[in-house]
Protein backbone atom coordinates (compact mmCIF):
# COMPACT_ATOMS: atom_id res chain seq x y z
CA UNK A 1 0.00 0.00 0.00
CA UNK A 2 1.09 3.52 -0.70
CA UNK A 3 2.68 4.02 2.66
CA UNK A 4 2.48 6.60 4.25
CA UNK A 5 -0.82 7.00 2.37
CA UNK A 6 -3.99 4.93 2.32
CA UNK A 7 -3.93 1.87 0.04
CA UNK A 8 -5.03 2.59 -3.50
CA UNK A 9 -7.66 0.27 -5.05
CA UNK A 10 -5.37 -0.44 -8.01
CA UNK A 11 -2.59 -1.79 -5.78
CA UNK A 12 -1.96 -5.52 -5.34
CA UNK A 13 -0.96 -5.70 -1.73
CA UNK A 14 1.28 -8.62 -0.77
CA UNK A 15 4.59 -7.41 0.69
CA UNK A 16 3.18 -4.15 1.96
CA UNK A 17 0.04 -5.54 3.61
CA UNK A 18 1.28 -4.74 7.10
CA UNK A 19 3.11 -1.48 6.43
CA UNK A 20 2.03 0.92 9.15
CA UNK A 21 0.89 -1.92 11.46
CA UNK A 22 3.25 -1.80 14.45
CA UNK A 23 2.03 -5.11 15.87
CA UNK A 24 3.28 -6.94 12.75
CA UNK A 25 6.81 -5.95 13.79
CA UNK A 26 6.72 -8.20 16.83
CA UNK A 27 7.37 -11.92 16.67
CA UNK A 28 4.03 -12.66 18.30
CA UNK A 29 2.20 -10.33 15.93
CA UNK A 30 3.92 -11.82 12.92
CA UNK A 31 3.07 -15.38 13.94
CA UNK A 32 -0.55 -14.27 14.49
CA UNK A 33 -0.56 -13.10 10.86
CA UNK A 34 0.58 -16.47 9.61
CA UNK A 35 4.28 -15.67 9.77
CA UNK A 36 6.94 -18.41 9.98
CA UNK A 37 4.49 -21.04 8.68
CA UNK A 38 6.35 -21.10 5.36
CA UNK A 39 9.69 -21.49 7.12
CA UNK A 40 8.60 -24.44 9.25
CA UNK A 41 7.22 -26.05 6.10
CA UNK A 42 10.49 -25.42 4.23
CA UNK A 43 12.75 -26.76 7.00
CA UNK A 44 11.11 -30.17 6.45
CA UNK A 45 11.74 -30.04 2.68
CA UNK A 46 14.69 -30.96 0.50
CA UNK A 47 16.62 -27.77 -0.40
CA UNK A 48 16.33 -28.49 -4.14
CA UNK A 49 12.54 -28.72 -3.87
CA UNK A 50 12.43 -25.21 -2.34
CA UNK A 51 14.58 -23.85 -5.14
CA UNK A 52 12.27 -25.48 -7.70
CA UNK A 53 9.23 -23.70 -6.29
CA UNK A 54 10.98 -20.34 -6.48
CA UNK A 55 12.18 -21.10 -10.01
CA UNK A 56 8.67 -22.01 -11.07
CA UNK A 57 7.23 -18.79 -9.58
CA UNK A 58 9.26 -16.66 -11.98
CA UNK A 59 10.57 -14.45 -9.12
CA UNK A 60 13.41 -12.21 -10.29
CA UNK A 61 15.90 -10.19 -8.24
CA UNK A 62 14.37 -6.96 -6.99
CA UNK A 63 17.66 -5.18 -6.31
CA UNK A 64 18.03 -3.98 -9.88
CA UNK A 65 19.43 -6.70 -12.10
CA UNK A 66 16.27 -8.81 -12.35
CA UNK A 67 18.13 -12.11 -12.42
CA UNK A 68 15.87 -15.17 -11.84
CA UNK A 69 16.14 -15.96 -8.12
CA UNK A 70 15.60 -19.72 -8.26
CA UNK A 71 18.18 -20.04 -11.03
CA UNK A 72 20.68 -18.08 -8.93
CA UNK A 73 20.11 -20.43 -6.00
CA UNK A 74 20.60 -23.44 -8.27
CA UNK A 75 24.15 -22.25 -9.12
CA UNK A 76 25.30 -23.17 -5.61
CA UNK A 77 27.38 -26.40 -5.56
CA UNK A 78 25.33 -29.58 -5.30
CA UNK A 79 28.04 -31.51 -3.44
CA UNK A 80 28.61 -29.56 -0.30
CA UNK A 81 32.25 -29.65 0.68
CA UNK A 82 32.74 -26.17 2.10
CA UNK A 83 30.67 -23.67 4.10
CA UNK A 84 27.96 -21.90 2.11
CA UNK A 85 26.94 -18.31 2.81
CA UNK A 86 23.90 -16.15 2.16
CA UNK A 87 24.30 -12.39 2.02
CA UNK A 88 21.22 -10.21 2.20
CA UNK A 89 21.65 -6.90 0.45
CA UNK A 90 19.99 -4.26 2.62
CA UNK A 91 22.43 -1.55 1.54
CA UNK A 92 19.62 0.33 -0.22
CA UNK A 93 21.34 3.48 -1.51
CA UNK A 94 20.17 3.92 -5.09
CA UNK A 95 18.77 7.45 -5.38
CA UNK A 96 14.99 7.20 -5.74
CA UNK A 97 14.71 3.86 -3.95
CA UNK A 98 13.33 3.46 -0.42
CA UNK A 99 11.36 0.20 -0.45
CA UNK A 100 13.71 -2.09 1.51
CA UNK A 101 13.77 0.49 4.28
CA UNK A 102 9.97 0.18 4.62
CA UNK A 103 10.10 -3.64 4.50
CA UNK A 104 12.61 -3.66 7.36
CA UNK A 105 10.76 -0.99 9.34
CA UNK A 106 7.36 -2.66 9.23
CA UNK A 107 7.86 -6.34 8.43
CA UNK A 108 11.31 -7.30 9.74
CA UNK A 109 10.16 -10.87 10.29
CA UNK A 110 9.15 -11.20 6.62
CA UNK A 111 12.77 -10.52 5.72
CA UNK A 112 14.10 -12.85 8.43
CA UNK A 113 11.74 -15.63 7.31
CA UNK A 114 12.72 -15.20 3.65
CA UNK A 115 16.38 -15.14 4.66
CA UNK A 116 16.12 -18.43 6.55
CA UNK A 117 14.19 -20.05 3.68
CA UNK A 118 16.85 -18.97 1.18
CA UNK A 119 19.66 -20.15 3.50
CA UNK A 120 17.99 -23.56 3.71
CA UNK A 121 17.55 -23.72 -0.07
CA UNK A 122 21.23 -22.97 -0.74
CA UNK A 123 22.38 -25.00 2.27
CA UNK A 124 24.02 -22.07 3.99
CA UNK A 125 24.76 -22.27 7.70
CA UNK A 126 25.25 -18.54 8.05
CA UNK A 127 23.42 -15.53 6.61
CA UNK A 128 24.62 -11.95 6.93
CA UNK A 129 22.15 -9.11 6.48
CA UNK A 130 24.16 -6.09 5.31
CA UNK A 131 22.27 -2.93 6.35
CA UNK A 132 23.53 0.48 5.29
CA UNK A 133 24.96 2.50 8.15
CA UNK A 134 22.52 5.38 7.79
CA UNK A 135 19.48 3.13 8.35
CA UNK A 136 19.51 3.59 12.12
CA UNK A 137 15.81 2.97 12.64
CA UNK A 138 15.54 -0.16 10.43
CA UNK A 139 18.68 -1.46 12.17
CA UNK A 140 17.13 -1.16 15.63
CA UNK A 141 13.93 -2.83 14.45
CA UNK A 142 15.80 -5.64 12.72
CA UNK A 143 18.00 -6.17 15.79
CA UNK A 144 14.95 -6.58 18.02
CA UNK A 145 13.20 -8.87 15.52
CA UNK A 146 16.30 -11.03 15.19
CA UNK A 147 16.65 -11.35 18.96
CA UNK A 148 12.98 -12.35 19.24
CA UNK A 149 13.21 -14.85 16.38
CA UNK A 150 16.33 -16.40 17.91
CA UNK A 151 14.63 -16.61 21.31
CA UNK A 152 11.71 -18.41 19.64
CA UNK A 153 14.17 -20.75 17.94
CA UNK A 154 12.61 -20.36 14.49
CA UNK A 155 15.80 -20.68 12.42
CA UNK A 156 16.78 -24.26 13.26
CA UNK A 157 20.51 -24.60 12.63
CA UNK A 158 20.77 -21.47 10.50
CA UNK A 159 22.58 -18.52 12.02
CA UNK A 160 21.53 -15.02 10.98
CA UNK A 161 23.68 -11.96 11.74
CA UNK A 162 23.32 -8.26 11.01
CA UNK A 163 26.29 -6.38 9.57
CA UNK A 164 26.30 -2.57 9.53
CA UNK A 165 27.69 -0.67 6.56
CA UNK A 166 29.51 2.60 7.10
CA UNK A 167 28.52 4.90 4.24
CA UNK A 168 29.44 3.67 0.76
CA UNK A 169 26.91 3.31 -2.08
CA UNK A 170 29.20 0.90 -3.88
CA UNK A 171 28.76 -1.69 -1.12
CA UNK A 172 25.35 -2.43 -2.65
CA UNK A 173 27.28 -4.03 -5.52
CA UNK A 174 27.37 -7.69 -4.55
CA UNK A 175 31.11 -8.31 -4.67
CA UNK A 176 31.87 -5.00 -2.90
CA UNK A 177 29.34 -6.02 -0.27
CA UNK A 178 31.23 -9.26 0.34
CA UNK A 179 34.52 -7.39 0.64
CA UNK A 180 32.91 -5.03 3.11
CA UNK A 181 31.71 -7.95 5.28
CA UNK A 182 35.24 -9.35 5.15
CA UNK A 183 36.51 -6.11 6.71
CA UNK A 184 37.94 -4.63 3.54
CA UNK A 185 37.48 -1.49 1.48
CA UNK A 186 34.31 -1.88 -0.57
CA UNK A 187 35.96 -2.39 -3.94
CA UNK A 188 34.03 -4.58 -6.38
CA UNK A 189 35.75 -7.79 -7.49
CA UNK A 190 36.34 -8.96 -11.01
CA UNK A 191 33.90 -11.69 -12.13
CA UNK A 192 34.45 -14.58 -12.73
CA UNK A 193 34.74 -16.21 -10.32
CA UNK A 194 31.07 -15.66 -9.56
CA UNK A 195 29.92 -15.67 -5.93
CA UNK A 196 28.34 -19.13 -6.20
CA UNK A 197 31.84 -20.49 -6.91
CA UNK A 198 33.98 -18.20 -4.76
CA UNK A 199 32.14 -15.55 -2.77
CA UNK A 200 32.25 -14.51 0.86
CA UNK A 201 35.50 -15.71 2.50
CA UNK A 202 36.14 -17.50 -0.81
CA UNK A 203 33.20 -19.84 -0.21
CA UNK A 204 30.09 -20.48 -2.33
CA UNK A 205 27.75 -17.53 -1.71
CA UNK A 206 24.40 -16.21 -2.84
CA UNK A 207 23.46 -12.55 -2.54
CA UNK A 208 19.78 -11.56 -2.57
CA UNK A 209 17.97 -8.27 -2.17
CA UNK A 210 15.60 -7.58 0.75
CA UNK A 211 12.46 -7.31 -1.39
CA UNK A 212 13.28 -10.55 -3.23
CA UNK A 213 13.57 -12.48 0.02
CA UNK A 214 10.49 -10.87 1.56
CA UNK A 215 8.46 -12.29 -1.37
CA UNK A 216 9.69 -15.85 -0.82
CA UNK A 217 7.51 -16.84 2.20
CA UNK A 218 4.41 -15.76 0.24
CA UNK A 219 5.46 -17.92 -2.71
CA UNK A 220 5.99 -20.94 -0.46
CA UNK A 221 2.64 -20.46 1.27
CA UNK A 222 0.47 -19.58 -1.70
CA UNK A 223 2.29 -21.53 -4.38
CA UNK A 224 4.35 -20.82 -7.48
CA UNK A 225 1.27 -20.84 -9.74
CA UNK A 226 -0.37 -18.07 -7.74
CA UNK A 227 2.76 -15.89 -7.97
CA UNK A 228 3.21 -16.61 -11.65
CA UNK A 229 -0.40 -15.60 -12.23
CA UNK A 230 0.37 -12.09 -10.96
CA UNK A 231 1.25 -10.71 -14.35
CA UNK A 232 -0.33 -7.99 -16.47
CA UNK A 233 1.95 -8.04 -19.47
CA UNK A 234 5.07 -10.08 -20.23
CA UNK A 235 5.02 -13.60 -18.68
CA UNK A 236 8.75 -13.28 -17.91
CA UNK A 237 7.92 -10.67 -15.26
CA UNK A 238 5.77 -12.09 -12.49
CA UNK A 239 4.58 -11.16 -9.03
CA UNK A 240 4.18 -7.83 -7.36
CA UNK A 241 6.78 -5.07 -7.10
CA UNK A 242 7.15 -2.19 -4.72
CA UNK A 243 7.69 1.08 -6.53
CA UNK A 244 9.13 3.96 -4.53
CA UNK A 245 7.88 7.17 -6.09
CA UNK A 246 9.54 10.48 -5.26
CA UNK A 247 10.30 13.92 -6.62
CA UNK A 248 7.56 16.07 -8.14
CA UNK A 249 4.43 14.12 -7.23
CA UNK A 250 1.67 14.99 -4.79
CA UNK A 251 1.75 11.72 -2.83
CA UNK A 252 5.23 10.23 -2.81
CA UNK A 253 5.60 6.82 -1.20
CA UNK A 254 5.81 3.09 -1.80
CA UNK A 255 3.14 1.52 -3.98
CA UNK A 256 2.82 -2.19 -4.67
CA UNK A 257 1.49 -3.24 -8.07
CA UNK A 258 1.39 -6.33 -10.25
CA UNK A 259 4.18 -6.58 -12.82
CA UNK A 260 3.15 -4.94 -16.09
CA UNK A 261 1.22 -2.09 -14.41
CA UNK A 262 1.15 1.19 -16.38
CA UNK A 263 3.66 3.77 -15.13
CA UNK A 264 1.18 6.50 -16.08
CA UNK A 265 -1.41 5.16 -13.62
CA UNK A 266 1.21 4.88 -10.90
CA UNK A 267 2.24 8.50 -11.29
CA UNK A 268 -1.15 10.10 -11.93
CA UNK A 269 -3.74 7.91 -10.15
CA UNK A 270 -1.78 6.71 -7.18
CA UNK A 271 0.63 9.57 -6.60
CA UNK A 272 -1.71 12.34 -7.75
CA UNK A 273 0.63 13.46 -10.54
CA UNK A 274 2.82 16.58 -10.38
CA UNK A 275 1.89 19.46 -8.05
CA UNK A 276 -1.07 21.64 -9.14
CA UNK A 277 -0.30 23.77 -12.17
CA UNK A 278 2.72 21.69 -13.15
CA UNK A 279 3.14 19.14 -15.91
CA UNK A 280 5.28 16.03 -16.15
CA UNK A 281 8.59 16.59 -17.89
CA UNK A 282 10.69 13.49 -17.31
CA UNK A 283 10.91 10.35 -15.23
CA UNK A 284 13.69 8.01 -14.12
CA UNK A 285 11.82 4.72 -13.65
CA UNK A 286 14.31 2.41 -11.94
CA UNK A 287 16.60 4.33 -9.63
CA UNK A 288 19.14 6.95 -10.70
CA UNK A 289 21.30 4.44 -12.63
CA UNK A 290 18.89 4.00 -15.54
CA UNK A 291 18.25 6.22 -18.58
CA UNK A 292 15.78 9.10 -18.28
CA UNK A 293 12.39 8.82 -20.00
CA UNK A 294 10.54 11.70 -21.64
CA UNK A 295 6.92 12.47 -20.78
CA UNK A 296 5.69 10.55 -23.85
CA UNK A 297 7.82 7.50 -23.03
CA UNK A 298 6.74 7.62 -19.39
CA UNK A 299 3.05 7.75 -20.23
CA UNK A 300 3.34 4.75 -22.58
CA UNK A 301 5.56 2.64 -20.29
CA UNK A 302 4.51 -0.65 -18.68
CA UNK A 303 6.26 -1.49 -15.43
CA UNK A 304 7.94 -4.82 -15.94
CA UNK A 305 11.50 -5.79 -16.87
CA UNK A 306 10.72 -5.97 -20.60
CA UNK A 307 8.24 -3.07 -20.76
CA UNK A 308 10.70 -0.49 -19.43
CA UNK A 309 13.48 -1.75 -21.71
CA UNK A 310 11.11 -1.33 -24.66
CA UNK A 311 10.86 2.38 -23.80
CA UNK A 312 14.64 2.73 -23.60
CA UNK A 313 15.29 2.43 -19.88
CA UNK A 314 15.34 -0.27 -17.18
CA UNK A 315 13.11 -1.35 -14.30
CA UNK A 316 16.13 -1.43 -11.97
CA UNK A 317 15.23 -1.20 -8.32
CA UNK A 318 11.82 0.37 -8.95
CA UNK A 319 12.79 3.81 -7.69
CA UNK A 320 10.67 6.21 -9.72
CA UNK A 321 11.96 9.79 -9.76
CA UNK A 322 9.49 12.26 -11.28
CA UNK A 323 10.50 15.66 -12.66
CA UNK A 324 7.93 18.32 -13.53
CA UNK A 325 8.37 21.27 -15.88
CA UNK A 326 10.07 23.34 -13.16
CA UNK A 327 13.08 20.97 -13.06
CA UNK A 328 16.34 22.12 -14.62
CA UNK A 329 17.45 18.89 -16.28
CA UNK A 330 21.05 20.04 -16.74
CA UNK A 331 21.36 20.84 -13.04
CA UNK A 332 19.68 17.60 -11.97
CA UNK A 333 21.86 15.51 -14.27
CA UNK A 334 24.92 17.25 -12.81
CA UNK A 335 23.60 16.44 -9.33
CA UNK A 336 23.34 12.76 -10.32
CA UNK A 337 26.83 12.61 -11.82
CA UNK A 338 28.13 14.33 -8.67
CA UNK A 339 26.59 11.46 -6.71
CA UNK A 340 28.50 8.91 -8.80
CA UNK A 341 31.72 10.93 -8.60
CA UNK A 342 31.39 10.91 -4.81
CA UNK A 343 30.56 7.22 -4.65
CA UNK A 344 33.12 5.87 -7.14
CA UNK A 345 35.45 3.45 -5.35
CA UNK A 346 38.17 4.84 -7.65
CA UNK A 347 39.78 1.54 -8.57
CA UNK A 348 38.99 1.78 -12.33
CA UNK A 349 40.43 4.76 -14.19
CA UNK A 350 37.41 5.19 -16.49
CA UNK A 351 35.14 5.58 -13.47
CA UNK A 352 37.41 7.57 -11.15
CA UNK A 353 38.31 10.09 -13.85
CA UNK A 354 35.13 9.84 -15.89
CA UNK A 355 32.66 10.55 -13.08
CA UNK A 356 34.75 13.49 -11.83
CA UNK A 357 35.33 15.08 -15.24
CA UNK A 358 31.71 14.60 -16.31
CA UNK A 359 30.66 16.51 -13.21
CA UNK A 360 33.25 19.26 -13.75
CA UNK A 361 32.18 19.78 -17.36
CA UNK A 362 28.50 19.92 -16.39
CA UNK A 363 29.32 22.44 -13.65
CA UNK A 364 31.23 24.60 -16.12
CA UNK A 365 28.30 24.42 -18.53
CA UNK A 366 25.85 25.43 -15.80
CA UNK A 367 28.14 28.29 -14.81
CA UNK A 368 27.95 29.76 -18.31
CA UNK A 369 31.53 28.73 -19.10
CA UNK A 370 30.66 25.83 -21.40
CA UNK A 371 32.65 25.25 -24.57
CA UNK A 372 31.05 24.51 -27.92
CA UNK A 373 32.30 20.94 -28.04
CA UNK A 374 31.39 20.14 -24.41
CA UNK A 375 28.38 18.00 -25.30
CA UNK A 376 30.46 15.92 -27.68
CA UNK A 377 33.11 15.66 -24.99
CA UNK A 378 30.52 14.47 -22.46
CA UNK A 379 29.22 11.84 -24.89
CA UNK A 380 32.76 10.72 -25.67
CA UNK A 381 33.49 10.35 -21.95
CA UNK A 382 30.23 8.45 -21.49
CA UNK A 383 31.22 6.06 -24.26
CA UNK A 384 34.49 5.36 -22.48
CA UNK A 385 32.69 4.86 -19.17
CA UNK A 386 30.26 2.24 -20.48
CA UNK A 387 31.04 -1.48 -20.36
CA UNK A 388 34.71 -0.92 -19.57
CA UNK A 389 34.98 -1.24 -15.81
CA UNK A 390 34.81 -3.91 -13.09
CA UNK A 391 31.30 -2.92 -11.98
CA UNK A 392 28.52 -0.78 -13.49
CA UNK A 393 28.85 2.36 -11.35
CA UNK A 394 30.59 4.09 -14.22
CA UNK A 395 27.89 3.00 -16.69
CA UNK A 396 25.28 4.29 -14.25
CA UNK A 397 26.86 7.74 -14.31
CA UNK A 398 26.91 7.76 -18.09
CA UNK A 399 23.24 6.71 -18.47
CA UNK A 400 21.57 9.97 -17.39
CA UNK A 401 24.15 12.03 -19.31
CA UNK A 402 23.59 10.22 -22.61
CA UNK A 403 19.80 10.05 -22.29
CA UNK A 404 19.69 13.60 -20.94
CA UNK A 405 21.63 15.12 -23.83
CA UNK A 406 19.61 13.11 -26.32
CA UNK A 407 16.21 13.95 -24.91
CA UNK A 408 16.68 17.40 -23.36
CA UNK A 409 19.35 18.83 -25.63
CA UNK A 410 17.58 22.18 -25.83
CA UNK A 411 18.29 22.81 -22.13
CA UNK A 412 22.00 22.09 -22.58
CA UNK A 413 22.15 24.28 -25.68
CA UNK A 414 20.43 27.13 -23.81
CA UNK A 415 23.26 27.19 -21.25
CA UNK A 416 25.85 27.02 -24.02
CA UNK A 417 24.22 29.89 -25.90
CA UNK A 418 23.98 32.04 -22.76
CA UNK A 419 20.17 31.97 -22.96
CA UNK A 420 19.86 30.64 -19.44
CA UNK A 421 20.95 32.43 -16.28
CA UNK A 422 24.19 30.70 -15.17
CA UNK A 423 24.00 28.68 -11.95
CA UNK A 424 27.03 28.80 -9.70
CA UNK A 425 27.87 25.36 -8.40
CA UNK A 426 30.85 23.44 -7.19
Amino acid sequence: MGFPHKPHPKETVVLSQYFGDAEARTHKGWVKRGGYEALSQVLKMEPAAVTDIVKESGLRGRGGAGFPTGLKWSFMPKDKKRPHYLCVNADESEPGTFKDREIMRWTPHALLEGTAIAAHAIRAEVAYIYIRGEFTEPWTIMEQALADANAAGVFGKIKVYLHRGAGAYICGEETALMNSIEGKRGNPRIKPPFPAAAGLFGMPTTINNVETLAAVPHIIKRGAAWYKGLCLSNPKSTGTKLFSVCGHVQRPGNYEVTMGFPLKDLIYDMCGGPPAGRTLKACIPGGSSVPILTREETEACLLDYEGVVEKGSMLGSGGVIVFDDSADMVYQIMRLTKFYAHESCAQCTQCREGTAWTTKILERLLGGQGKTNDLDLLLDLAENMTGKTICVLSDSCAAPVVSGIKKFRGEFDAYLAGKRQPVMVG
Binding site: P83, E134, I181, K184, C246, H342
Partner: protein, 168 residues
Protein backbone atom coordinates in the same frame (compact mmCIF):
# COMPACT_ATOMS: atom_id res chain seq x y z
CA UNK B 1 51.85 6.58 13.12
CA UNK B 2 51.96 10.20 14.16
CA UNK B 3 51.50 9.87 17.93
CA UNK B 4 54.44 10.32 20.25
CA UNK B 5 55.40 7.89 23.00
CA UNK B 6 54.24 10.23 25.78
CA UNK B 7 50.96 10.66 23.93
CA UNK B 8 50.60 6.89 23.81
CA UNK B 9 51.05 6.68 27.58
CA UNK B 10 48.16 9.09 28.09
CA UNK B 11 45.97 7.07 25.85
CA UNK B 12 43.02 5.33 27.46
CA UNK B 13 42.47 2.03 25.70
CA UNK B 14 38.93 1.57 24.40
CA UNK B 15 38.83 -2.21 24.33
CA UNK B 16 38.87 -3.12 28.00
CA UNK B 17 36.26 -4.50 30.39
CA UNK B 18 32.72 -4.53 29.01
CA UNK B 19 33.73 -3.12 25.64
CA UNK B 20 36.25 -5.93 25.23
CA UNK B 21 33.53 -8.44 26.10
CA UNK B 22 31.33 -6.84 23.46
CA UNK B 23 34.14 -7.23 20.93
CA UNK B 24 34.55 -10.91 21.84
CA UNK B 25 30.86 -11.43 21.07
CA UNK B 26 31.27 -9.68 17.70
CA UNK B 27 34.20 -11.93 16.81
CA UNK B 28 31.99 -15.00 17.24
CA UNK B 29 29.94 -13.95 14.19
CA UNK B 30 32.77 -14.19 11.68
CA UNK B 31 35.25 -16.86 10.60
CA UNK B 32 38.10 -14.30 10.48
CA UNK B 33 39.14 -11.51 12.85
CA UNK B 34 39.49 -9.12 9.94
CA UNK B 35 35.77 -9.41 9.17
CA UNK B 36 35.03 -7.84 12.54
CA UNK B 37 36.74 -4.61 11.45
CA UNK B 38 33.65 -2.57 10.53
CA UNK B 39 31.72 -3.48 13.69
CA UNK B 40 34.86 -2.88 15.78
CA UNK B 41 35.29 0.58 14.30
CA UNK B 42 31.63 1.32 15.07
CA UNK B 43 32.23 0.40 18.70
CA UNK B 44 35.38 2.55 18.80
CA UNK B 45 33.52 5.54 17.37
CA UNK B 46 30.64 5.11 19.81
CA UNK B 47 33.09 5.06 22.74
CA UNK B 48 35.43 7.83 21.63
CA UNK B 49 33.32 10.00 19.33
CA UNK B 50 35.74 9.73 16.42
CA UNK B 51 38.45 7.47 15.00
CA UNK B 52 41.90 8.85 15.82
CA UNK B 53 45.16 7.38 14.57
CA UNK B 54 45.77 5.98 18.04
CA UNK B 55 42.40 4.22 18.06
CA UNK B 56 43.15 2.80 14.62
CA UNK B 57 46.37 1.39 16.09
CA UNK B 58 44.46 -0.19 18.97
CA UNK B 59 41.85 -1.65 16.63
CA UNK B 60 44.68 -3.03 14.48
CA UNK B 61 46.24 -4.60 17.52
CA UNK B 62 43.10 -6.30 18.81
CA UNK B 63 42.24 -7.66 15.36
CA UNK B 64 45.76 -8.65 14.31
CA UNK B 65 45.90 -6.14 11.43
CA UNK B 66 48.33 -3.35 10.64
CA UNK B 67 47.45 0.28 11.46
CA UNK B 68 47.96 1.15 7.78
CA UNK B 69 45.42 -1.46 6.74
CA UNK B 70 42.89 -0.16 9.24
CA UNK B 71 43.42 3.40 8.04
CA UNK B 72 42.85 2.26 4.46
CA UNK B 73 39.46 0.89 5.47
CA UNK B 74 38.50 3.84 7.70
CA UNK B 75 39.17 6.32 4.90
CA UNK B 76 37.06 4.34 2.43
CA UNK B 77 33.83 4.72 4.40
CA UNK B 78 32.24 8.13 4.94
CA UNK B 79 30.62 7.44 8.30
CA UNK B 80 33.78 6.99 10.34
CA UNK B 81 34.82 10.42 11.62
CA UNK B 82 38.51 11.03 11.13
CA UNK B 83 38.27 14.28 13.10
CA UNK B 84 36.28 15.25 16.17
CA UNK B 85 32.75 16.41 15.31
CA UNK B 86 30.18 18.50 17.15
CA UNK B 87 27.84 17.11 19.80
CA UNK B 88 25.22 16.88 17.07
CA UNK B 89 26.40 15.40 13.81
CA UNK B 90 23.82 16.27 11.17
CA UNK B 91 23.64 14.65 7.74
CA UNK B 92 21.47 16.32 5.10
CA UNK B 93 20.65 14.56 1.85
CA UNK B 94 20.96 16.79 -1.22
CA UNK B 95 20.92 14.17 -4.02
CA UNK B 96 18.54 14.76 -6.97
CA UNK B 97 15.20 13.50 -5.59
CA UNK B 98 15.63 15.59 -2.44
CA UNK B 99 17.28 18.38 -4.40
CA UNK B 100 14.18 18.98 -6.52
CA UNK B 101 12.12 19.02 -3.33
CA UNK B 102 14.19 21.82 -1.77
CA UNK B 103 17.03 20.06 0.09
CA UNK B 104 19.52 22.88 -0.51
CA UNK B 105 17.26 25.32 1.37
CA UNK B 106 17.11 22.88 4.30
CA UNK B 107 20.91 22.65 4.36
CA UNK B 108 21.23 26.45 4.22
CA UNK B 109 18.75 26.90 7.08
CA UNK B 110 20.62 24.38 9.23
CA UNK B 111 24.01 25.95 8.53
CA UNK B 112 22.71 29.42 9.41
CA UNK B 113 20.64 28.58 12.46
CA UNK B 114 23.19 26.34 14.16
CA UNK B 115 26.08 28.71 13.58
CA UNK B 116 28.04 25.96 11.82
CA UNK B 117 28.38 28.25 8.80
CA UNK B 118 30.02 25.89 6.37
CA UNK B 119 29.13 22.32 5.48
CA UNK B 120 31.65 20.07 7.24
CA UNK B 121 32.64 22.73 9.78
CA UNK B 122 31.76 22.64 13.47
CA UNK B 123 29.94 25.53 15.15
CA UNK B 124 32.09 27.65 17.54
CA UNK B 125 30.16 26.31 20.55
CA UNK B 126 31.12 22.76 19.53
CA UNK B 127 27.50 21.69 19.35
CA UNK B 128 26.94 21.25 15.63
CA UNK B 129 28.61 19.73 12.61
CA UNK B 130 26.42 19.80 9.50
CA UNK B 131 27.37 17.78 6.45
CA UNK B 132 25.86 17.39 3.02
CA UNK B 133 25.53 13.68 2.16
CA UNK B 134 24.47 11.63 -0.83
CA UNK B 135 21.17 9.69 -0.89
CA UNK B 136 19.93 8.64 2.56
CA UNK B 137 17.44 6.18 1.06
CA UNK B 138 14.26 7.99 2.08
CA UNK B 139 13.54 9.94 -1.13
CA UNK B 140 9.76 9.83 -0.65
CA UNK B 141 10.26 11.71 2.61
CA UNK B 142 12.31 14.59 1.24
CA UNK B 143 14.30 16.00 2.84
CA UNK B 144 15.58 13.37 5.28
CA UNK B 145 18.00 14.59 7.94
CA UNK B 146 19.98 12.34 10.24
CA UNK B 147 20.79 13.99 13.60
CA UNK B 148 23.21 11.60 15.27
CA UNK B 149 21.16 8.37 15.16
CA UNK B 150 17.76 10.06 14.84
CA UNK B 151 16.39 9.82 11.32
CA UNK B 152 14.04 12.76 10.72
CA UNK B 153 11.79 12.64 7.64
CA UNK B 154 10.25 15.38 5.50
CA UNK B 155 12.31 18.28 6.84
CA UNK B 156 11.56 21.71 5.36
CA UNK B 157 13.29 25.03 6.21
CA UNK B 158 10.24 25.85 8.35
CA UNK B 159 10.90 22.81 10.55
CA UNK B 160 14.59 23.64 11.10
CA UNK B 161 14.10 25.98 14.12
CA UNK B 162 12.32 23.20 16.05
CA UNK B 163 15.11 20.72 15.29
CA UNK B 164 17.76 23.22 16.41
CA UNK B 165 15.84 23.91 19.62
CA UNK B 166 15.37 20.21 20.38
CA UNK B 167 19.00 19.17 20.05
CA UNK B 168 20.82 22.34 21.12
Amino acid sequence: MTHSVSHAEDYQAVFTGKVLEELQAVLQRYPTKQAALLPTLWIAQREHGWISDRIMAEVAEVLGLTPAYVKGVVTFYTMYHQHPVGKNFVQVCTTSPCNICGAEAVLKALLEQTGAGDAGATSPDGKWTIVEVECLGACGFATPVLVNDDFIESVTPEKVPDIVRKYR
